[in-house]
Every structure is written in structure tokens, then in C-alpha cells.
Symmetry: C2
Subunit: 168 residues, 2 copies
Amino acid sequence: MTTQDEAPAEAPADEHAGLWLTSGELDSWLSVVRLMTRLPWAIDTQLQRDADLSMVEYMTLAMLSEAPEWTLRMSTLAENTSTSLSRLSHLVKRLERRGHVRREADPADGRFTNAILLPAGMAKLESAAPAHVAYVRRLVVDNLSGERLRRLGQDAERILQRIDSPAR
Amino acid sequence: MTTQDEAPAEAPADEHAGLWLTSGELDSWLSVVRLMTRLPWAIDTQLQRDADLSMVEYMTLAMLSEAPEWTLRMSTLAENTSTSLSRLSHLVKRLERRGHVRREADPADGRFTNAILLPAGMAKLESAAPAHVAYVRRLVVDNLSGERLRRLGQDAERILQRIDSPAR
DNA sequence: AACTTTCACTTGAAGCATCAAGTCAGGCAG
DNA sequence: CTGCCTGACTTGATGCTTCAAGTGAAAGTT
């Protein structure tokens, strides 16, 4: 503080060790940012074009199709698709309007709401799946070696754990 | 087509080789999907809370701050932040209202619009950066080994290339 | 039994993204 | 120099997401 402390542009490299990112770290991070931006966009575009579904809608139908009785609680569905209950509620309302899904209060405990896949929704999912899977294969699964794909999944899980961990 | 073809639930495992995903592939893919969903959400939440900025807004300010004269064409900015020109136009209008940025037609060629970072925008960015970088370090950069981070960046680039490649 | 609380949603308003159409500058053809 | 044409945005409407507040069912409290 005795000497001047401006000169924001250039500074000794070690000055911000741990505060800023090194150039290599930054490159990797920016690649990840681009991936997070453009991969969802690419998949949404494909699904929208070929099946008039967004990725969350697809995931929602897919999760229901694998549940017993084609039925899941809204809260479970929200967890599994990583969305807020509010977003899911609006979204299911739209799927309901389109006849893909219906809702009913859980007969055993009226606080819960069950979302139930309808045959038309299953048909929609089945018609959308092949092109979607093919595209996911092309972009990701068949584009990386088995080893790298597995590690990518692991890295993702490791990051997700940190997101969920309480600190900060 | 001569025999019945329903029974959607169970089918021989090799039946859809290459059409569906194996259980390991599916696990990895679903991890990636969760990452794409929740990492942007986590970062947006942190930035919003600490600096009242979204990630795209942050990136926009950051790109401008590193450009000569704190100036970039809208189209360049759109490329660099992976957004559409339309979205960027709306976004920059909002940043303009807040006094972070201004726009002017390129004096040399009036078809281009330059976005220019204002001192207030730079100040905003500088106040937001430390907490943002710390969070990125915590979730990603310091959470993976140097080796794994580099590979993650490479995998991302590989996927991005496919997204950009014309076929399909 | 009345009450409070909690939990699991639902809703409406406001903000942001997307899509299609419009504008406007400069290059080019005649 | 007039009239297209292209490219680079900008705009307005529509739809989806988010945020804050509301509702209603069951469990616990007194």
C-alpha cells in the first residue's frame, strides 16, 4: 500500500497464484463452458426439429417410461431431471395439454401428485428415441473411446458432488 | 413383421446393438447430462447472488475487457460467447441500460455495431471476478488433477467439433 | 377438536430466450 | 445514380424459466 497499486493490465505471473487461472486451466475451462452452452443447444435443436420436444421434455417422458406403472411423483421426477418443482409443474402442465401425460393426487397420500405417462406419450417417446440416441452416439458416445467416456462420466460426477456439497 | 413386434419392455440385449446405449454408456451419458444441467445452474446462481450477473453477461463483459479498446463487434462477441446475435442484441441492450456497456455503429463501416465496455462495466467485472474464479476453481479446476482437467478440455473440444461438423 | 406446522406442490407475474420478420449500410449491376 | 442484393444486426411476439407467494393435505401440538 506504500507503493502505487493500480496497473490492472499487467502484473507478475505468480502474483495471483490460486486467484486467477493459468492459461492452460483457462483454456480447459473455456472449453467446458462452450460444451455446457452448445451441447444442450445441439441436442435441443435435434429433438425440436425431429420430434417437437425439448431435452427436459424428452427426459421427463423417458424417466416415466422406465418407472413402474409409468408413474412417478412430481418431486421424484424433479430430482431425476435436475429441475425445480416449479419448472416441472409448468412443463407437465404443457405435456398434459398435449395428451402425453396426466396427473392425479396420490390416492394413498393426497399431498403427493403422481405424473403418469399416457400411451400417446409413450408413442411420442418411441418415435423420438432412435434419432435422439443416434445423435447422442454421434456427438458423444461413439466419439470418445470407452475409457475416455467412462472418465468423462466420472469427472462429471466429481463436479456434481462438489455442487451438492454444502460448503460455500 | 411376420411375427409380433411389440413387447417394448424386455428384449434380447444384443437386439439393439448400436441403436440403444449399453448400461455403462447410459450411465456416463446421464452424468454428462446432469453436468450440463447443473453446472451452468450452479455458476449462474453464484454469480447472480454475489454480483447480480448471469454467466453470459459475465462472459460478455470478460471478453470485452480483454479486447483492444474494450471494443468488439456484436458478431464477434456472439461467436465468442456461443450465443445467437438476437440473444446478444437483447442482452447488450440490458447491459447498456445498466451502464456497463455502450454501442455504436462502426465508424469505418456502418453495417457493423461495436459493443464497448464502459468503466462501470469494468468495475462490475472486477468486483465479480474473484468470487467467480474461486468458485470455478472449487468446482472444477482444483477438483480434478491437471491431467484430468486437460483431458476434459480435450474431450469437450472433440464433441464441439462434431457439433460444428456439417453431417446430420 | 382446533391450531399450527410442514411438505409438496401450484400459480401468476416478470424476465429472458427464441423465432420470424424488419431495417439499414454498403457493394454491385446496369 | 438507381435499383437490387447481401450481410449484420434489431425488433416484437411468443413461449419457457424463475421467483415469490399461495393452496391444501396430513402430522403433530395443546
